[in-house]
């Protein structure tokens, strides 16, 4: 008698946690690139958001691996891959790239904020003591040290750009190199991930910047957000075009996988991929940002267009991550059919855990802002070098 053993694909093993992992990693890469546009490429109009973007990159980077650890049954074993790495396991590479990138971001942030740490370190209380320890109890500051800080920041920001691209490109590689999965296995995946990361990073900065400024009733810097809006428009065009080209490539190649992937798009992913990701959350922001970039509109209208587009693009990139990570697992290894997945709210890898993980960087950023001002131009607490 023959037993039935394969395929027995009852459940999707890479859950919403694995959706969140490339999403948060992407926010890091995008936010860092915005800060580098100011520090390296001298985009002066981005100065009001440069420090905030670097700090955002840092806090999102702290939380990027947390969804991965939440996904594991034995998270303490995760570090084994870095102790005894092997070429057959791509994940160790992410560990090294992540660690190196974290080092660069921490160093750059330290040199950017050193003057502010010194300003707070000269006071009294626990925050002052914390700041004194952060500057390694060296309270000396002069134009010469500030000049050194500027040069080091510029060097680290320049070094960080390829590292940011490598970090998120590597996350794309983790999916794109899995040749057993027809929905993931494409070299375009690396590039798509980099561009979608930049889109999500710029979007989260715009979203958060407006929210903070509206809450505090500060005056929004029009030149800065309009510049960010134009960058967002440019990067989202490339990202969405690449995503569409991937579909064109799959359809035109007509390989043995084409039929099942077309069915996947037409049935299981129709709502989340075709309708939401492309028709709603790509097309609408594209048109709104085009209106902002190509026509003269009043400042309030421009800000509304930019903020709404950024918020929608944040959702678009989340949908893209969902459609890639979950969509790829819905296809049976036999290429004959599909399974289904929707996360529960309360389970270990459910929606509540995802919401908590995604909220934590914002809370840390708030604490950060209480210690050193992230918007020195408007809140009046900063000592500008």
């Amino acid at each position: 008698m023959m037993n039935f053993v394969f395929p027995n694909e009852l459940r999707v093993t890479w859950t919403v946690m694995i959706v969140l992992y490339p999403y948060i990693t992407g926010l890091v890469a995008g936010a860092f690139i915005v800060s580098s546009l100011y520090h390296v490429f001298g985009r002066e109009e981005l100065r009001p958001i440069a420090r905030f973007s670097l700090a955002s990159a840092f806090v999102f980077l702290l939380f990027a691996p947390l969804p991965l650890l939440m996904h594991l049954g034995h998270p303490e074993r995760a570090f084994n891959i870095m102790i005894t790495p092997h070429f057959t396991s791509a994940m160790a590479g992410f560990g090294y790239i992540y660690s190196a990138y974290l080092l660069v971001v921490v160093l750059e942030l330290w040199f950017v904020l050193r003057s502010d740490f010194l300003a707070r370190a000269r006071g009294r209380g626990p925050v002052a003591w914390l700041c004194r320890s952060l500057v390694l109890f060296n309270l000396h500051e002069s134009p010469a040290t500030r000049e050194a800080d500027h040069r080091i920041v510029k060097f680290l920001a320049g070094l960080g750009i390829p590292m940011a691209c490598t970090l998120h490109g590597y996350v794309g590689f983790l999916f794109g190199s899995l040749k057993a999965n027809p929905w993931w296995s494409t070299p375009l995946m690396f590039v798509i991930f980099i561009f979608s990361a930049i889109v999500s990073g710029i979007s989260v900065l715009i979203f958060h910047y407006f929210v903070v400024f509206w809450i505090n009733r500060w005056k929004v810097n029009g030149a800065c957000v309009r510049s960010l809006g134009r960058y967002l428009w440019g990067f989202m065009m490339v990202a969405v075009a690449l995503e569409l080209l991937e579909i064109l490539s799959i359809t035109y190649e007509q390989t043995d996988k084409t039929e099942v992937l077309n069915t996947l798009i037409r049935t299981k992913l129709f709502m989340s991929y075709v309708v939401l990701q492309f028709l709603v959350f790509s097309l609408v922001p594209f048109l709104m940002l085009a209106v902002h970039a190509l026509f003269r509109v009043r400042e309030r209208v421009a800000h509304a267009l930019i903020w709404t587009s950024a918020t929608m693009l944040l959702v678009q990139v989340l949908l893209m991550r969902w459609n890639v990570v979950v969509g790829g697992q819905l296809v049976s290894k036999s290429m004959r059919g599909f399974t289904s997945y929707f996360p529960g709210v309360w389970e270990k890898e459910g929606l509540l855990t995802a919401a908590i993980i995604f909220t934590m960087p914002f809370l840390i950023l708030y604490v950060f802002h209480r210690i050193v001002p992230l918007f020195p131009d408007v809140d009046g607490r900063s000592k500008q070098p």
Partner: protein, 311 residues
């Protein structure tokens, strides 16, 4: 903060001394990381291959938690005999009941009964990716078909895990039959998109190709919506053939027609057994009679060739 792209302010050259401790700390962290790695890598790592060599010796002294069906049959020989002849004959006891070593050591460690819906659906839930020939159900559709009203009804209320189909013949010695292919075996849910005669396609063998008279008769009978292989159970044995059983045990018919408190009258006609024999017989009921002895015309006509096959 001044943009680094701006020309430097006039003044003294940059003073990097405050940065030295930072880079020193970073360098120190790297050294510590390398030292920790050297300390954490197990001594026997790489002895035989890219793994911890001592793991082999540790694995050797471990005892198996799964003991196999022979261990179960030593005490539960009656259940083992039932189990071996029926459709679950190739499924190990511990697949449903879990590892049995603790139970063998101490009978007080009772194994789980495996009577939840999920225990059955893990294999039998309809999944397009599974071979169409494998028995699989959409629970709601299946319950509708057999008139079960409570969605929480356990599968074991009708199907015993040990004897799920009450086969009246031992499946291991049942008649050999060429492989039966139906379009749905491969094209589950997409049969309407399949070409009639696709080039290079494997030959399709449907029941009607060889048993045209029976198929034509079955198509007109009350059971016409039931697939032939529902009653003539076919279990694939190799790439060319399998075992086929005509299941005439009344308990098999009662899987659909048995009266039960969880069944409504909206489903198939329901009877009690063996009470039904007394209801329809004026003489002393014969408990050896099978349903098909009276209800053959509601299934399909019998023809000489099929009678000789015993199928």
């Amino acid at each position: 903060m001044r943009s680094p792209s701006e020309p430097p302010e006039s003044g003294p050259p940059p003073d990097y001394r405050h940065a030295y401790p930072v880079f020193l700390i970073m360098g120190g962290l790297l050294v510590v990381a390398l030292a920790v790695r050297a300390w954490l890598v197990p001594e026997t790592f790489g002895e035989f291959g890219y793994y911890r060599g001592a793991a082999l010796d540790e694995a050797k002294v471990r005892t198996s938690r799964y003991l196999g069906r022979q261990a179960c049959a030593e005490c539960h020989d009656d259940v083992a005999a039932l189990h071996a002849k029926d459709a679950h004959g190739s499924v190990e006891c511990e697949t449903c009941h879990g590892p049995g070593s603790a139970h063998v050591e101490d009978a007080e460690n009772v194994l789980p009964r495996a009577d939840r819906q999920q225990d059955c659906l893990v294999c039998h839930r309809r999944l397009d990716a599974r071979p169409g020939s494998f028995p699989q159900i959409d629970r709601d559709e299946h319950f509708r078909l057999v008139g079960v009203t409570n969605a929480a009804t356990a599968c074991v209320r009708c199907h015993s895990g040990h004897e799920p189909l009450f086969m009246n013949k031992d499946l291991r010695t049942a008649r050999l039959h060429p492989l039966i292919h139906a379009c749905g075996d491969c094209h589950l849910g997409r049969q309407d998109q399949t070409l009639k005669q696709p080039a290079g396609h494997p030959q399709i063998f449907q029941c009607s190709y060889c048993h045209a008279d029976v198929s034509a008769s079955a198509a007109k009978a009350e059971h016409h919506a039931i697939a032939c292989t529902t009653c003539h159970l076919f279990i694939k044995e190799n790439a060319f053939s399998g075992r086929i059983v005509r299941d005439t045990d009344p308990r098999f018919c009662l899987l659909c027609h048995g009266q039960a408190d969880f069944r409504s009258q909206d489903g198939p006609p329901l009877i009690t057994w063996p009470g039904h024999l007394a209801d329809v017989s004026e003489e002393t009921p014969d408990p050896t009679r099978a349903c098909v002895d009276c209800h053959q015309d509601q299934i399909h006509d019998l023809f000489e060739k099929e009678v000789s096959h015993g199928l």
